[in-house]
Amino acid sequence: MSKIEWPLWEVFIRSKQGLSHKHVGSLRAADEEMAINNARDVYTRRSEGISIWVVESKNVVASDPSEAGPLFEPANSKAYRHPTFYEVPEGIKHM
């Protein structure tokens, strides 16, 4: 069978006003217009969304999971960035 493929698109859906778009999966479509229409049919058949973003998968730049250690290390050693690092004297109710 000769191979004719449509590009792959990543689909992001905003489920309701006030929430961010969230990645839900991917699909194949010839262009951005078809990608939006296909995303509507594949990912929102039960009113799961009010807004759709599509991004061609080849345009996504991702961090490398095998480099996750060094990449995120700077945050690991900084416990003082969290409120739980500090002791609140007794008698203080809200801070």
Binding site: S26, L27, D41, R46
Partner: protein
């Protein structure tokens, strides 16, 4: 990569799996894990797509408009399920069209249940109640599968699948409570679908070659026989409630185990259908091939149109 390195990566991988940490697309995974998933997820996708065919058989003959609208919605869901799964299989580096060609050339399988014909309207009920019911038993544990994209696709599928089972049970219930002819139609359909539905869980544990490894990788959470027993236990009371008889003379509730004992599956029939000699194997695969070949010009034309439009937009800007 050096052998020592690979060994330690494999150990880290298994340790993550053991601690219930999901494996994501770009993470290290052993080749065999990747291959197993590509095979299982693509065959699962093929099953959803081929599964549309026995139901499509009844769209034009649905007894009324409500039934027709429901059936169409269900068939559209099956297409959607296929697409979630093809999208999951592509995260493993497999090519979508290659996996589809594997199906068309006989290198990949799909669930054998779809090689049985849908002869009467009651079969639409049985497909929803029993076939989707059995699929739910299989798919609910897959929501906890160790591979992230597969697990997430299964969460979506399971949410939608319970509508499928309920609409099927509604069809069967209505027939079972209808005229004697309608009740007979329901019973006759149950007689034909019961055993093939039990076969959907695959060979007995003792004969299942992949189970042990898949459970170690947490792709699978229960053995075939455990799932089959869960299905029987859940379904028998439903049949009793609507006054239909399960076609198994050995079926009996076992007070000691708290489960139903049931008769032996005809494994010869099972293997015949798996090997391609079921009632509809040839028809199903040729319908899929025809769909791909007939749709080729559309895919081609859409690509050309997209290129042309992109060129035009460039000129304007």
């Amino acid at each position: 990569m050096e052998k020592n390195n690979l060994d330690s990566l494999d150990t880290i991988f298994q340790d993550k799996v053991d601690r219930e940490i999901k494996i994501e697309p770009k993470d290290y995974m052993p080749d065999a894990y990747r291959k197993t998933l590509i095979r299982q997820i693509s065959q699962h996708a093929h099953s959803e797509i081929v599964g549309q065919l026995p139901e499509a058989n009844w769209v034009t003959r649905a007894p009324n408009l409500r039934r027709k609208a429901v059936l169409l919605a269900k068939i559209q869901d099956e297409a959607g399920h296929g697409l979630y799964l093809y999208s999951a299989v592509e995260t493993l580096g497999a090519d979508r069209e290659d996996t589809i060609d594997d199906l068309h050339e006989g290198r990949a399988k799909y669930s054998s249940i779809f090689n049985y014909p849908t002869l009467t309207w009651a079969d639409m009920g049985m497909v929803g109640w029993l076939v989707d019911g059995a699929a739910i038993m299989n798919q609910v544990p897959l929501c906890r599968c160790s591979y992230g994209p597969y697990a997430r696709a299964m969460v979506r599928v399971c949410k939608e699948e319970s509508f499928h089972q309920r609409q099927g049970f509604e069809i069967v219930t209505q027939l079972a409570q209808g005229t004697p002819v309608q009740k007979e139609m329901a019973q006759e359909a149950l007689n034909r679908w019961w055993w093939p539905a039990l076969m959907m869980f695959g060979p007995n544990d003792a004969d299942s070659t992949h189970t042990a490894q898949s459970m170690k990788w947490k792709i699978k959470r229960h053995t075939n026989d455990e799932l089959r027993q869960m299905f029987v236990d859940a379904t028998v009371p439903q049949a009793e409630l609507i006054g239909l008889k399960i076609p198994d003379n050995d079926l009996k509730f076992n007070e000691e185990t708290g489960h139903y004992d049931f008769g032996e599956i005809d494994w010869d029939e099972f293997w015949q259908v798996v090997k391609g000699y079921g009632p509809c194997n040839t028809e199903r695969v040729s319908a899929r091939k025809k769909a791909k070949e007939d749709g080729l010009w559309v895919r081609e034309a859409a690509n050309v149109y997209a290129e042309k439009r992109a060129r035009r937009n460039k000129k304007v800007s």
